[in-house]
Subunit: 232 residues, 2 copies
DNA sequence: TCGCGTGATGTTGTGTACATCAAGACAAAA
DNA sequence: TTTTGTCTTGATGTACACAACATCACGCGA
C-alpha cells in the first residue's frame, strides 16, 4: 500500500462516517460522468447537487475538487462546474500511454488470479455474450467498466493501478460518446471476443499475455475511434 | 492539452486571482513537503497555515485536498492533517513504475530540445559540478527537482508528464530523507555524471537514449537506497 | 440598425461559527 | 500498581451567509 488510500468505491476502507459519505459521493458522481448522465460540457450546480444528496456545499466541494484533480471537472468562478471534454489529439496521447501501461500489467508485480477473480471473468464473459444479443450503449459502458476493474485485480503494483484507473476514466466517457454512433453490434462482438481471449490467458495464469492482449485491443479500439472521427 | 489544466506552479496559466493564489499555495506547500520542511509524520494545522498565508481555512482546504489526492497528505478528523510516509515496499513499486515511465519518455511523442532547453541543461551541469564541491542535502534536492522539470520539457505526452511528476513527488522526499544519511559526496558525483550524460544525449537530439539513461539511473538509485535500508 | 454600457441574475470563491471526532490527562476503583 | 472511565483539548468536518465574478438581456444613444 502506498502512503495514501484513495477513497475509492471499491475499497470500502472502514473510515469515519464522513469518509464513507465522501467515497459514496465520489463514486456516484464519477459514474454519472463516465456513463454520460452528465455529458461533456454539462454545467453542474453545486447547490443543486448538495440539495440532492442532503448535504451542504462544503463537503460536496471536496468531492468536486477530487474530480477536478482527476480531470473530469473544471470549476470556474462566475461560470459553473463544467464536465470536461477532450479533443481527439489529447485522446491520442492518453491512448498511447494506456497501451504502454497495459503491457506493464504483466511485467510489474502481476498477481496470479485466484478462484474469485476467474469466476468474475467468467461472469463477464457471459454478460458479454448477452450484450452481443442485446446491444445497449449504457450496458456496454457498464460492462466495459466492470471488465476494467476485474482486470485491475491482476495488477499488484498499486501506483500502476491508480494511474491506469485515472486514465481509464478520462477516456471511458469519450469512448462511450463515440461508440453510440458507431456499429454497436460489431463493437460488442469485438469486446466479447476480447473477454474470451483474456479469460483464456487468465485461465492458464499468463498475465503477461493478458497485458499484450489488452494492449492490442486498446490499440485497435483507438484506431477504430480515429477512423470514425476521420469520417466526420 | 488534456481536458484539465493542473494549477501547477510552472505553467502560470493566466487565471483569476483565486486560481493564481491556489497555484502559489499548492507549489509552496508541495515544495515544503518535498524538501522536508515538513518531514513525513508532521501534523499540519489548517488554522496555522491559513493564518500564515493570510487567508481563511476554506481556500486552504482546497489546496490540502489536492495534495491529499496526490498522496502527499492525509486528513483525518479529530487528529490532523498529516504528511504521509511510505514503506520501502511501496517505494519499490513506485520506483519500478518510474523506471518504465522513464523509458517511455523517448518513445511517446518525444520533443526535440530547443536552444532554451539545452541551455537549461548546461546550467544544471554547472550547478551539478558546484554541488560535488559543496555537498548540501537541500541544494541537492532542489537541483534534483530542477533537473526533473527540465527533463519533462522533452516529454510531449502530457498525461505522461503529469503522471511522472506525480510519482516523482511521491518519491522525492523519501529519497532526500535517506540520502542525508548516505554518502553525499558519492551521490552528488553520480548525479553530476547523470546530468553530463543526459546532456550528451540531448545535444545530439537522441531522446530515446535519454530515456534509457534515466531508467538506468533510477534503477541504480533505488538499488543503493535498498542497500542502505538493508543495512539499517 | 448597430454598438455599447449597465444592471439583473446565477455561479463559484471565501470567511466564520459551530458540530463532530480522537487522543491524552487525570482520577477513582479494583 | 494497574485499569478504566471521564473530561479536557485541539484537530478536521459541516453549514451558512456573503463577496467576487462572468454572462446575458435590456435599453440607450449614435
Amino acid at each position: 500500500m502506498t502512503g495514501h488510500s484513495k477513497p475509492d468505491v471499491r475499497e470500502d476502507a472502514q473510515g469515519s462516517a464522513a469518509r464513507e459519505r465522501f467515497a459514496l459521493l465520489y463514486g456516484t458522481l464519477r459514474n454519472r460522468i463516465s456513463l454520460l448522465d452528465y455529458p461533456p460540457g454539462t454545467k453542474l450546480s453545486e447547490e443543486a447537487l448538495a440539495a440532492e444528496f442532503g448535504i451542504s456545499r462544503t463537503p460536496l466541494r471536496r468531492v468536486l475538487g477530487w474530480l477536478e484533480s482527476e480531470g473530469l471537472l473544471k470549476s470556474v468562478q462566475g461560470v459553473g462546474t463544467i464536465v470536461t471534454d477532450v479533443d481527439i489529439e489529447a485522446l491520442a496521447q492518453v491512448y498511447h500511454l494506456r497501451m504502454e501501461l497495459a503491457e506493464l500489467l504483466g511485467k510489474l508485480e502481476p498477481v496470479s488470479p485466484d478462484a474469485e477473480t476467474i469466476a468474475l471473468f467468467r461472469d463477464l464473459q457471459e454478460s458479454g455474450s448477452d450484450l452481443v444479443n442485446n446491444p445497449d450503449p449504457r450496458r456496454f459502458a457498464q460492462l466495459n467498466m466492470d471488465f476494467f476493474h476485474v482486470l485491475m485485480r491482476l495488477c499488484g503494483n498499486e501506483p500502476l493501478r491508480e494511474i491506469s484507473e485515472r486514465l481509464y476514466y478520462q477516456t471511458a466517457r469519450i469512448w462511450l460518446k463515440s461508440i453510440s454512433h458507431m456499429d454497436m453490434a460489431e463493437e460488442a462482438a469485438i469486446f466479447s471476443r476480447e473477454i474470451t481471449e483474456v479469460l483464456a490467458a487468465v485461465d492458464i495464469g499468463d498475465i503477461e499475455a493478458v497485458g499484450h492482449m489488452r494492449r492490442a485491443h486498446i490499440s485497435m479500439s483507438f484506431k477504430r475511434l480515429r477512423n470514425y472521427y476521420a469520417g466526420t
